[in-house]
Point group: C2
Chain length 170, copies 2
DNA sequence: TTGATTGCAAAGCATTTGCATGCTA
DNA sequence: TAGCATGCAAATGCTTTGCAATCAA
């Protein structure tokens, strides 16, 4: 692995370029937030990222994290995702393949998957209704293997799911 | 069509039974809210439904509409749906086939569709990852036929989309 | 009569905005 | 120096909760 300074050079350059094109400015806060975002290979809420940033620089505020996540999204480095608990999460988007999510409603585990067959069927369906598809969102909710076992073994454990899915959508 | 009094008898009985089983009570507000919900074949937000109810009985409050929509959902008469604008919408669920949604990001039109092929592929994918699928949510976002034309004809019209999709999810 | 229900007001969340101050280009 | 960025506090939008008064069973 490259040294800390050389990591994520591509992503950082994409960000710089986006900032310059838009007539914005580079700041220490934005650099720090981007760096921590890139170092964390998870689905992060703004709140999650705020605390990670806070550990390294406690002067950075919530607002800046929110605004920077939007900026990262605009720059194509992040993608906003929702799992149904009312918050927005963000995941890496630069050089990452498109995928959908499968979420365990018990422990909150999120699995990324991709099905070319489903993708192409979505195109077909959209065309049937005269739509030009621009994006889609698909979540599969269920129990992961581990939680299926836990459920059959015993009833309630005290564990708190990370993502509490309040409702089922379409 | 049956007379107003005889309409939706099945739905109303389902509601009565749910209320009795749960040890709850029938009230004029709940009857009115259910009635208006059933008469409206659309995706309604709590706010939408509140105003429709308000027209017929202005003494009914927001809170009661929220609580009654939850009750209808518990009773299996309604289903909560989210389109990505931060609000919850509700649609008829009793004796309605499962379906997914296609949403026009320009005018907010919502089309319901069902694809058995996609459904079965979802089962397959879930099984591949050891998940037991319980629900899923799928939204296709794009431009409907009409808005594609409008877009090519001219640029901006003053029309306000009913659903403003703020973010793209998975 | 008893306890569920109602509606108001207030509280909760996640997110956004106004604004004075600070800092980059 | 100009004007974008920051961070605080306040505002927002949707939803939930506390509570006293009301009403169904």
């Amino acid at each position: 692995m490259a040294s800390k300074e050389k990591e994520f050079q591509n992503e950082k350059q994409v960000f710089s370029e986006h900032i310059q094109k838009a007539g914005l400015r580079n700041t220490a806060q934005r650099e720090l937030i981007l760096d921590i975002f890139l170092r964390t290979e998870e689905h992060l809420s703004s709140e999650d990222l705020y605390w990670l940033v806070h550990k390294e620089d406690s002067s950075v505020g919530h607002t800046t994290v929110y605004r920077t996540l939007k900026l990262l999204t605009d720059a194509g480095l992040a993608r906003e995702v929702r799992f149904g608990d009312g918050k927005s999460y963000y995941e890496h988007h630069y050089n990452h393949e498109h995928h959908d999510h499968m979420i365990c409603t018990e422990c909150g585990k999120v699995v990324e998957f991709f099905s070319p067959e489903i993708e192409s069927l979505q195109e077909t369906v959209a065309a049937e209704y005269g739509f030009r598809l621009t994006h889609h969102s698909m979540r599969i909710l269920g129990l992961c293997g581990i939680c299926q076992k836990k459920d059959s073994e015993s009833a309630a454990s005290g564990a708190q799911p990370r993502v509490r899915v309040k409702s089922v959508f379409s």
